[in-house]
């Protein structure tokens, strides 16, 4: 954007003319001098300044001359005024000398240990010392020293002697993350960043402080001493963890992903990301499936690609029309599309589902009517200025951290009212300055249906143009909730967005990896929709399944029923399953799914890693992890975030490519399966313009009596992609069951240290904590250390038996 264009966008009254280094520019009123200079391409050195943090003017590196002012002034803290004449170090001796003086001060107590410092080579202090400093130091005294390093958390380490007290980290923690556990302590040259006793910097966003540290003071346990910046090959990528859609930079050293950073995407993650996205990547090259495997005499053995493809093709050919495909939520849009096409074209089935988590037919219809193939929006930018944002069944700090950061900023900077309908008043809700609308776990549908009576004020806010409703994954498990949310949006005119938890879910939905939906949100029952797809796929419309197939829960049911049918010598419904990216623990019926994988006669697994799933497979085809391939993820907004392979020349193949080879072996041509080809097909298909299926209209069933369980997956938990990250895991939130004092008293649990939560399939004993939780509800993390709730048959909204544990 040029300066002229920016000026055109604002009213003339808001534009001022200033002179910087003799050049007149017209800029918006109130802009900081340092930003104006940036727009002009004039770089004023700085340390404490950061465009996303409030100015502090502490480092004094950006001193410049303002005509009429006898003293140099900090460019980072002074807004331009009409007629202001500014001279930077380029034209002002005063500014140049002031900057040189400050640089000499900064290096006084700095150890200058660049050769062994992680930041060396990409260090603002190093760079600016070269550009704005003296060649040599005149300081001959003793530098102050500190014990090094010290832990701010298990992950974040601090070398205090390198710190220049710019306060970026402390301001980030306080202003952006809302986790003010970092603070400057002591004074004078002894001033240092620190934490309180027994209060580590366990913020979900802690890693950002390392990235914005302008020196090497903050480092991570993960990356410390692992590489030099100039040994790294960097690639812009997209985070594969959640649906926030963060742009990342992936740094590869000799073919191994060594570091990941948040990359600047002003529309999405700005310059931040969460610690999972930053630090959880060891999984990429641990426990990988490296060659095709085939089952022989009950055991898996290594096989060549041709042999494995041949075996898989023969098995699947025999099961044509009697095969289901489960893809998990982690595939790229292109790979998910390849499965969607493969299922319909090569396997002749519509039994495909990307959801191996709590799901329902109601959700399926909700997605078909409200989400699949719809244009982008609402977006992050819409959250910034919304008249109100209502969150239902969504804990953004855990499930979509960048939404959390945006809402926190919107609330703090723009006074956007945020309302959270949830059984639990979480710290995340408090940090968004949000209004808590308590509702019993499983009572979300009833609470939404009753909103007109219970909260007419909120209803009026939602009726204001621009209002946004965000619904989360767990509403799929609450009958009627998604119907009521859609109805609320329809009646108020509020914009509705579905925030899935995994990066691949929206892309999978849009590209047709869900029974009943062809790519672009096309209903499979619509002949026109089928015709459009058949034309691009170059098949006869009649060759495509015409009726919606089975969704994941029905697939599992059917396989289990097949086992009984087989015992009665009746034909099976399914002779084969194709699975990809599947984790048993993700499914609320993990035991059933495990049995289904055992029982199905022929199982083909596309796998990146060895797992319980591959153990049951008859053919395992190894596929690429995200760092080895190009692709794209569609974030919750519906924004496509393409990326290329971080590791160049990786030998692994994408799911799409492997499927194309398998299709060839089945003698069903599907093209090359290359990412570019798949993308071109998706583009050619575009969005469905015909009639959409109506929104579901399930009634709100009142929640059952007894004690209800509220649960969701914490950001940092036992997820497969977080394996081998002990430092990250150590910053996870503790496992505990939270309930109100009243509930604890009513259940006779007062004074208990732990409680036992019991579901259909077992029980767990976890520490008890008292918090603000809706009456009759107990909250516990879904899949954290020592607490696998789905494994004992519990899900959000389920009834749970709570008994006293240890005193």
């Amino acid at each position: 954007m040029t300066i002229a264009e920016q000026s055109a966008a604002v009213q003339p009254a808001d534009v001022v003319t200033v002179t910087v280094d003799g050049i007149d520019v017209r800029v918006p009123k109130g802009m900081l001098i340092i930003r104006v200079a940036e727009l002009m391409g004039i770089e004023i050195p700085r340390f404490c300044d950061h465009p996303l943090l409030d100015p502090v003017a502490a480092c004094r590196m950006c001193l410049i001359e303002i005509e009429g002012n006898p003293k140099p002034q900090p460019a980072c803290a002074i807004a331009v005024a009409d007629g202001m004449v500014v001279r930077t170090q380029r034209t002002s001796e005063m500014a140049e000398q002031a900057q040189e003086g400050v640089m000499e001060f900064l290096l006084l107590n700095h150890p200058l240990d660049c050769p062994i410092c992680d930041k060396g080579g990409e260090c603002p202090l190093q760079n600016q010392a070269m550009s704005s400093g003296r060649g040599t130091s005149r300081f001959e005294g003793h530098k102050r020293t500190f014990e090094k390093p010290i832990n701010m958390s298990a992950q974040i380490l601090l070398d205090r002697e390198r710190c220049v007290s710019c306060a970026r980290c402390t301001r980030f923690a306080e202003q952006i993350a809302g986790d003010p556990m970092l603070e400057l302590l002591e004074r004078g040259a002894q001033q240092q960043v620190g934490i309180g006793p027994d209060a580590p910097f366990d913020s979900y966003f802690s890693g950002n402080t390392i990235q914005i540290c302008p020196v090497g003071a903050l480092t991570s346990s993960l990356y410390r001493f692992r590489a030099r910046p100039f040994d790294l090959v960097s690639t812009p990528t997209t985070c594969e963890h959640c649906a926030s859609g963060c742009s990342l930079r992936t740094d590869v050293r000799r073919g191994v992903v060594t570091r990941r950073l948040a990359w600047d995407d002003p529309e999405v993650n700005e310059e931040w990301n969460c610690d999972k996205g930053r630090f959880a990547f060891q999984y990429l090259d641990r426990g990988r499936v490296e060659t095709p495997l085939v089952r022989e005499a009950g055991a898996l053995r290594v096989a060549s690609w041709p042999e494995a493809l041949d075996i898989a093709a023969r098995g699947l050919a025999a099961a044509r029309g009697r095969t289901a495909v489960l893809t998990g939520g982690r595939l790229t849009r292109e790979d998910a599309y390849a499965y969607a096409k493969f299922a319909r074209v090569a396997l002749g089935t519509d039994d495909i589902d990307f959801r191996t988590r709590v799901s329902s037919d109601e959700e399926s219809r909700f997605l078909a009517s409200q989400v699949a193939g719809t244009p982008m929006g609402p977006t992050y930018a819409d959250l910034d200025r919304a008249p109100v944002v209502l969150l239902v069944g969504l804990e953004p700090e855990d499930e979509s951290p960048i939404i959390f950061l945006r809402l926190r900023r919107a609330a703090r900077k723009n006074a956007v009212p945020v309302a959270v309908m949830s059984p639990v008043l979480t710290r995340g809700t408090e940090k968004m300055d949000a209004r808590w609308i308590p509702c019993r776990a499983g009572g979300e549908a009833a609470a939404l249906a009753g909103l007109a009576q219970s909260d007419p004020g909120l209803l009026a806010q939602l009726s204001t143009p621009g209002a946004v409703i965000l619904v989360g994954e767990r509403l799929a498990g609450v009958p009627g909730a998604l119907s009521r949310a859609a109805a609320l949006a329809a009646s108020t005119g509020a914009r509705l967005a579905w925030v899935p938890r995994r990066a691949g879910e929206r892309g999978a939905l849009d590209s047709g990896a869900l029974a009943g939906l062809l790519p672009g949100g096309r209903p499979i029952g619509d002949p026109a929709a089928r015709a459009e797809v058949a034309a691009v796929w170059r098949v006869s419309p009649d060759a495509l399944p015409a009726a919606p197939g089975r969704q994941a829960p029905q697939v599992i049911d059917t396989v289990l029923a097949d086992a009984e049918r087989a015992q009665r010598d009746e034909p099976r419904e399914y002779d084969a399953l194709v699975v990809a990216g599947l984790e048993l623990a993700d499914d609320p019926r993990a035991d059933d799914l495990r049995r289904a994988l055992e029982d199905v006669p022929f199982l083909v697994a596309f796998a990146t890693h060895h797992s319980e799933v591959t153990e049951h497979a008859d053919v395992v085809l190894p596929v690429a992890v995200v760092s080895e391939k190009a692709g794209s993820f569609t974030d919750w907004e519906g924004r496509s975030k393409p990326f290329s392979a971080a590791i160049r020349g990786a030998q692994s193949v994408t799911d799409g490519r492997a499927l194309a080879m398998l299709a060839d072996a089945l003698d069903v041509p599907m093209g090359t399966g290359e990412v570019a080809a798949l993308r071109a097909e998706l583009d050619a298909l575009g969005r469905w313009g015909g009639p959409r299926t109506p929104a579901p209209d399930e009634p709100a069933t009142p929640p059952a009596g007894g004690t209800a369980l509220a649960t969701w997956r914490l950001l940092l938990d036992r997820g497969r992609l977080q394996e081998d990250e002990p430092h990250l895991a150590a910053t996870a939130r503790p496992t505990e069951a939270v309930m109100s004092q009243e509930t604890a008293t009513a259940l006779g649990l007062s004074g208990r240290a732990t409680v036992v939560l019991t579901g259909d399939r077992g029980s767990v004993e976890v520490p008890l904590a008292i918090g603000e939780v809706a009456e009759g509800t107990v909250w516990a993390p879904m899949y954290s250390e020592g607490c696998d709730l789905q494994g004992i048959g519990l899900h959000h909204g389920a009834g749970v038996r709570v008994t006293g544990g240890a005193a």
Partner: protein, 436 residues
């Protein structure tokens, strides 16, 4: 003709129970309050403006002007904060005022709060003087019981709470915005200005921060009026001043006199330099202002004349040093103080005081480097005007003035430890002067 002493604030300090409500009332206290409460608040601001009263904390900003910056009718609460964090080396006037006549301060607080429409005033007292804290707190309780503080004061409809707050031992909290941070419960570090406290101060609402002595002036101004006040002092420095004279003088202590009195006159009142000594150098108002020598003993102690002499009136608490004192050692002690008290927020002050102090300590030990004589000046120049707040400027002040007046002493300290040139025992104020 010598300038007379003019005890106003200190007039009745010989009354033993002046610090009590009775004592203060017996000497005419709390008579300005009903008069002020009958006035329009804007009229009080106008009166204070007309007197030309300038802040007595060191910077000398016109008090009435400061009050007039507070936006009125803005629907926000306003606060008055009294800066009683007197910590400047050499300054000892606010603590005596609070000890001797706390009710005069409180009467000033009530009137000032009424003028700026503040219903809550805070008195932030240096934590190291618990006696003063206890005394002011007791006086506030007495004033509350007497109905001078509370709701509907003297039937005027004006409400006021007064909170006495103890500092925690940081010099930086004498800086007004750091004081506000500290008062709010945060670590005291100066805030970015603008916004100035008059617009967004304590808890982000309009706040006036005034020095103890400034506020203590107010009851007398209300009682006696603008013309009376302007009888004292000069056009640009009207009024009287509580001068606290310390150092090598025969009778160190508090001398209240009109602004414009000279150091020579104050010295006479203080009994002159102790026997056998002569003024080597003196500082008009705390270590943060440049030192002067004998040449300026006849310069009027006004804001403007001191500025013209290249220094500042500061807190108006002159320290006098005779020729038993090493200027190198004095400057080193002061810099050690600033290094210790630098809050750490900005680079020039944090690192500069560290550097300067190290160099000066080498001079003190007789190991000073010739090149450092000029380097010190340059480093001070890199701090002056570039630090975040005035503390950095203050730290950059002593050396340049000292080396200008006494360069030889610094040169000598490149070879000889200062304790050899200036045996410490000779400098002790309490020793016989003949010890040298």
């Amino acid at each position: 003709m010598a300038t007379p002493l003019t005890p106003v604030i200190t007039a009745h300090w010989d009354v033993p129970d002046l610090f009590t409500l009775d004592g203060y009332r017996r000497t005419g206290g709390y008579r300005a309050l009903p008069k002020a409460l009958a006035m329009d608040p804007d009229a009080i601001i106008g009166t204070v403006k007309d007197t030309g009263l300038r802040g007595r904390g060191g910077a000398g900003f016109p008090t009435g002007l400061k009050w007039s910056f507070v936006p009125q009718g803005d629907g926000k609460p306003h606060y008055l904060v009294v800066n009683a964090d007197e910590s400047e080396p050499g300054a000892c006037k606010d603590v005596p005022i609070m000890m001797a006549n706390p009710h005069a301060l409180i009467e000033g607080v009530i009137i000032s709060s009424y003028a700026i429409r503040a219903n809550h005033a805070f008195i932030y007292i240096r934590g190291e003087v618990p006696q003063a804290i206890r005394r002011v707190a007791a006086a506030v309780r007495e004033a509350e019981q007497a109905g001078y503080i509370g709701t509907n004061i003297l039937g005027s409809g004006f409400d006021l709470r007064v909170t006495v707050h103890s500092g925690a031992g940081a010099y930086i909290c004498g800086e007004e915005t750091a004081l506000l941070d500290s008062l709010e419960g945060f670590r005291g570090q100066p805030r970015l200005k603008p916004p100035f406290p008059a617009v967004a101060g304590l808890y982000s609402v309009p706040t006036v921060v005034n020095n103890v002595e400034t506020i203590t002036n107010i009851p007398w101004i209300i009682n006696n009026g603008v013309e009376w006040f302007r009888l004292f002092g000069t056009e640009k420095s009207p009024g009287f001043k509580v001068f606290a004279v310390s150092g090598h003088v025969v009778r160190p202590g508090i001398y209240e006199a009109p602004l414009g009195i000279t150091m020579r006159e104050l010295l006479e009142y203080a009994g002159g330099v102790r026997e056998g000594g002569r003024v080597k150098f003196w500082i008009p108002g705390g270590s943060s202002v440049p030192m002067l020598n004998e040449d300026h003993l006849d310069t009027p102690l006004t804001y403007e004349a001191m500025a013209e002499a290249g220094t500042m009136l500061g807190t108006g608490t002159p320290m006098v040093f005779d020729d038993t004192i090493s200027v190198v050692k004095s400057v080193t002690r002061w810099l050690e103080f600033y290094k210790h008290e630098s809050c750490g927020k900005c680079t020039p002050c944090r690192e500069g005081t560290y550097w300067i102090t190290g160099m000066l300590e080498r001079f003190e030990q007789g190991h000073g480097a010739d090149a450092d004589l000029d380097l010190l000046n340059e480093v001070c120049g890199h701090i002056m005007g570039r630090s975040f707040c005035a503390l950095g400027d203050a730290a950059a002040t002593p050396y340049p003035a000292a080396v200008q007046l006494f360069r030889d002493e610094f040169v000598s300290a490149t070879r000889t430890p200062v304790d050899e040139t200036f045996p410490p025992a000779a400098g002790y104020v309490f020793s016989a002067v003949g010890a040298r």
